[in-house]
């Protein structure tokens, strides 16, 4: 066990925890931020995507000891009212079916747009390729990223 300082969505936390614990489970079990989802546990599906600084990362394989004092943004940190341009684009295109993967999809999209504010279709597809949507909403995801980029 170790005391670790975290900065999540602009708030500071101190957790006393096994330093190998992935960020995903710290968020979900210890900080009650359950918007970030568990899908595979091995960085293969993208459901657990969060931002570390401006980078979209898979929180299910990221040990909490690696993110001490770094800025983490989760889906809850974008806008609680759904006012972030990417959230608004998701609502405009009514993307979700079951909705389980969408927090991860949105965080990957936010990561992409921070690096490349006006991505082309192929760039969007490549950046979003790591996020599985079992319901198959990929076309609406692509359209929503495009809308967010143009907003």
């Amino acid at each position: 066990m170790a005391k670790i300082n975290l900065n999540v969505n602009g708030k500071k936390y101190e957790v006393d925890i096994d330093p190998d614990t992935p960020v995903l489970w710290v968020l979900r079990d210890h900080l009650d931020l359950v918007g970030t989802k568990f899908g595979c546990g091995m960085a293969q599906c993208g459901a657990c995507t969060v931002l570390l600084g401006d980078d979209a990362v898979r929180s299910c394989v990221l040990p909490v000891s690696n993110v001490q004092d770094k800025q983490i943004t989760t889906i809850e940190g974008l806008s609680a009212e759904g006012d972030h341009p990417v959230q608004k684009a998701w609502l405009e295109h009514d993307v979700a079916q079951c909705g389980y993967c969408q927090a991860g999809q949105i965080m990957s999209a936010v990561g992409l747009l921070r690096k490349s504010p006006k991505p082309g279709e192929e760039e969007i597809a490549a950046a979003m390729h790591g996020n599985i949507c079992r319901c198959g909403t990929y076309l609406r995801i692509r359209a929503a990223v495009m809308t967010a980029a143009n907003s």
Binding site: M1, D18, T21, P22, W25, R28, D29, H30, D32, L33, V34, G35, T36, K37, F38, G39, C40, G41, M42, Q44, C45, A47, T74, I75, E76, S79, A80, E81, G82, Q87, W90, L91, D94, A96, Q97, C98, G99, Y100, C101, Q102, A103, I106, I124, A125, A126, M128, H129, G130, N131, I132, C133, R134, C135, G136, T137, Y138, L139, R140, I141, R142
Partner: protein, 759 residues
């Protein structure tokens, strides 16, 4: 192990008692539903304040004194957007403004709601009359209330968007003003429905009522649930089908940090009479329980379990219609290769005859050309993105459960038997599901969570890892089908034979097209038992047989020298003008309608350069679908440029949401046709996570999908499943034109000579 599960499709009788005033709506259990206004983002002045008091007009409808309306979404939601579309039906007949509607997910209350089952693409179809009755009856009660208060005949009172209006006198009142009085009035009988031409909400696109909660990461799923004192439980299931637990060495794991207990549970007791959805892969399961998910995961990896070969097991299954069947679960450890050999041997022998028209043997003898082709498909894992999980809190005198379940009425029966509690003491809250696809019809996770909680006398959340989820079983069965057809010298289809089988069920639908359009027809089925568990998977059986049949018809049209759409239309005309046999499952006019619409919308008659096109059509779940898939090859890899679909599902309740469902079905179909596969080696599932099990991803999705609905006023039919099955053949037929090779074995990506690198 339980084969041929038929989803009940008979229209239910509407139980009028359920429309009577409900006085005690606040039932026991947890309040886990989330409320919001359905109109997504109304401005504050558009939104009335929350009411001080609610008045129930029936189980589905509550009206506040200020006119705000709560509509119950009776069916569990797994992503088909029922939580929006079912209340839209209520709202339209009630005649309220959608922006003043709050939608609430109903808990499982069979005494209040009809058919709280999501599956078989039946929710809108089966709910149509029930919800229209609930809405129109409540509206009439409000009209009757105004009639009495104003002393004006009810016939003279109109409604509009939550207002009661008497135009002659100029009297007006909001529903909220009349609700308390209306709730005391008798429930009227035989209230007429709205004319479909007068729909104001149905047939308009309304956004997902959960949209904002989804994009802001609210805790919508049972895996997100947490409460005081809750423990986390995980199972350690046998690594192979055909194995069971012999012993475990729990000492080491019990002392690991955060671990509370380690034990073996019995899921279903010996001698228990199973219902149709009681499929369970393992009757005994080692369980690790602790404080946090990560700690339990770590302990689970360290748990040493000794496994032994399971013996043959006999169970009694009470199927649909009350038929009891003794099912033998065989012993042994199976492999894909040995299963394949068994299936090939069976497909060479006559099966059980399912339908016969004319004299097929003689017709084949007299045919000028005969063609025979065999199609195969592997087991598929559902791979819902939310892994299997369930919350349970079982004490000596009651049980509370909250989890993903499509068929709560069945799991309630199981829980009553397993927990020894009467059903009145068991409360099931219906969680939003992170995908369903048939998997969540099987509530083994409810039993496991409840048994663990009962043993510990504590609230418990059971969570499967992805590996547990993918290797647990309840797969789409593996199938094969051999098709044979005979053409006369003028290339008319004179004989047709399908022989299909699978482990453990056959996929043949003997009365579907082209049955009824061919004079000499034979359908046969055969089955092989197995201990690898199977279950419903998006469009059971159709999800294989549509692809096989429609690939075969494509090849047959080519042999006959006919355009594949025209060839199908010719057969449908034959059925319409002079049907063969009586028991034909489809309407040839509506079937032809989708083919004609897709021909027009896809520009079928004007081929594009370098684009290879495949067409397929299918009827299942009461809905007709035709698709044209446009493909290009890029570096030897297929790229789907566009899919054009034509759908006849009657009245479309929520058009944009329906299109979303269609797009999803097509993407899912392309993915499973190209990549979907679970194999076994000595009973062990060969894939356990997404690094091995290939799912369709963003770059492989079509560049464009168009879903066109046939405009008509027929009552609505299914939409969650019907777009999925024909896609397999649209892919195969396009691939043939792109590569010059026919594709008989799924997944097709293994048959394409190309670089198909995993990520």
């Amino acid at each position: 192990m339980i084969s041929n599960i038929q989803i009940m499709t008979a229209q239910p009788n509407i139980n009028r008692r359920k429309f009577l005033k409900v006085t005690a709506l606040a039932g026991g259990g947890m309040m886990l539903s989330f409320n919001w206004l359905a109109g997504c983002n109304p401005t504050p002045d558009e939104v009335l304040a929350m009411p001080k008091e609610w008045f129930s007009l029936n189980s589905y409808i509550k009206i506040g004194e200020n006119g705000i309306v709560t509509l119950m979404a009776p069916n569990p939601e797994f992503g088909t957007n029922l939580k929006t579309s079912l209340p839209m039906i209520l709202a339209d007949e009630l005649d309220v403004d959608w922006k003043n509607v709050i939608v609430e997910q109903a808990d499982f209350y069979p005494e209040r709601f009809e058919r709280q089952f999501t599956g078989g693409s039946q929710s809108v179809r089966m709910g149509w009359k029930i919800l229209r009755t609930a809405g129109s009856t409540a509206r009439k009660m409000l009209v009757n209330a105004a009639s009495k208060k104003w002393n004006i005949p009810a016939e003279e009172i109109a409604t509009s968007a939550g207002m009661l209006i008497h135009s002659a006198s100029g009297k007006k009142a909001g529903y909220g003003e009349m609700a308390s009085f209306a709730a005391t009035l008798p429930v009227p009988d035989n209230v007429p429905f709205k004319n479909v031409k007068d729909f104001k909400i149905i047939r308009t696109s309304r956004k997902n009522v959960e949209g904002k909660n989804i994009v802001t990461g609210k805790p919508l799923f049972s895996i997100d649930h947490k409460q005081e004192g809750m423990l986390i439980a995980m199972i350690v299931h046998p690594p192979a089908f055909g194995l069971k637990v012999k012993s475990l060495d729990e000492a080491l794991v019990k002392s690991m940090p955060g671990i509370k207990d380690v034990f073996v549970i019995k899921t279903l007791e010996d001698g228990y009479e199973h219902n149709a959805f009681d499929t369970t892969s393992f009757y005994e399961l080692p369980v690790v329980v602790g404080n946090s998910t990560w700690e339990v995961m770590q302990a689970k990896k360290q748990l040493k379990v000794e496994w032994e070969e399971a013996q043959e097991k006999k169970v009694t299954v009470l199927g649909w219609g009350g038929n009891k069947e003794d099912v033998v679960i065989p012993a042994g450890r199976e492999s894909t290769e040995t299963q394949r050999k068994k299936m090939m041997a069976m497909s060479g022998k006559p099966g059980k005859e399912l339908r016969r028209d004319g004299d097929p043997e003689k017709a084949f003898k007299n045919a000028a050309k005969v063609i025979e082709r065999t199609y195969t498909a592997p087991y598929l894992a559902h791979n819902t993105m939310e892994p299997v999980n369930c919350f349970a809190h079982v004490t000596a005198d009651k049980a509370e459960l909250y989890g993903p379940i499509q068929a709560p009425e069945f799991i309630m029966k199981t829980l009553v038997a397993r927990l020894g509690l009467p059903k009145e003491k068991i409360h099931i809250s219906l969680a939003r599901m992170g995908g369903g696809f048939g998997l969540r019809a099987y509530g083994h996770h409810f039993v496991e969570a409840a048994v663990i909680s009962q043993k510990l006398n504590a609230p418990v959340k059971l969570v499967y890892t992805r590996e547990d989820d993918m290797t647990y079983g309840i797969y789409r069965p593996t199938y094969t089908a051999t098709y044979r057809a005979g053409l006369d010298k003028d290339n008319n289809l004179i004989a047709f034979h399908v022989r299909g089988g699978g482990i453990p069920e056959h996929p043949v639908e003997p009365n579907r097209f082209p049955a009824g359009a061919v004079d000499n027809y034979l359908a046969e089925g055969w089955e092989i038992k197995s201990n690898i568990t199977i279950g419903a998977f998006r469009a059971p059986r159709s999800n294989f047989i549509a692809g096989a049949e429609q690939s075969f018809l494509d090849e047959l049209a080519e042999l006959a020298g006919k355009d594949p759409i025209e060839f199908r239309l010719e057969l449908l005309r034959r059925n319409k003008n002079n049907p063969v046999g009586k028991n034909n499952a489809y309407d040839p006019g509506r079937y032809a309608g989708v083919l004609e619409l897709v021909r027009e919308k896809s520009g079928w008659t004007k081929p594009q350069e370098n684009v290879s096109r495949g067409v397929a059509a299918y009827f299942c779940h009461n809905t007709y679908v035709a698709q044209v898939l446009d493909m290009k090859m890029k570096d030897g890899t297929p790229v789907v440029e566009k899919v054009t679909a034509a759908v006849d599902c009657g009245i479309v309740v929520n058009p944009d949401s329906a299109a979303n469902m269609g797009e999803g079905g097509i993407v899912d179909g392309i993915g499973n046709a190209l990549f979907g596969e679970m194999t076994f080696d000595n009973g062990i599932p060969a894939k356990n996570n997404f690094h091995q099990y290939r799912m369709i991803r963003q770059k492989e999705a079509p560049k464009a999908i168009e879903v066109h609905f046939v405009p008509n006023d027929e009552d609505p039919t299914g939409l969650g499943e019907p777009l999925f099955p024909p896609t397999f053949a649209a892919v195969a037929n396009a691939l043939y034109r792109a590569t010059g090779k026919r594709y008989y074995e799924q997944p097709f990506s293994k048959q394409i000579n190309s670089r198909q690198p995993l990520l």
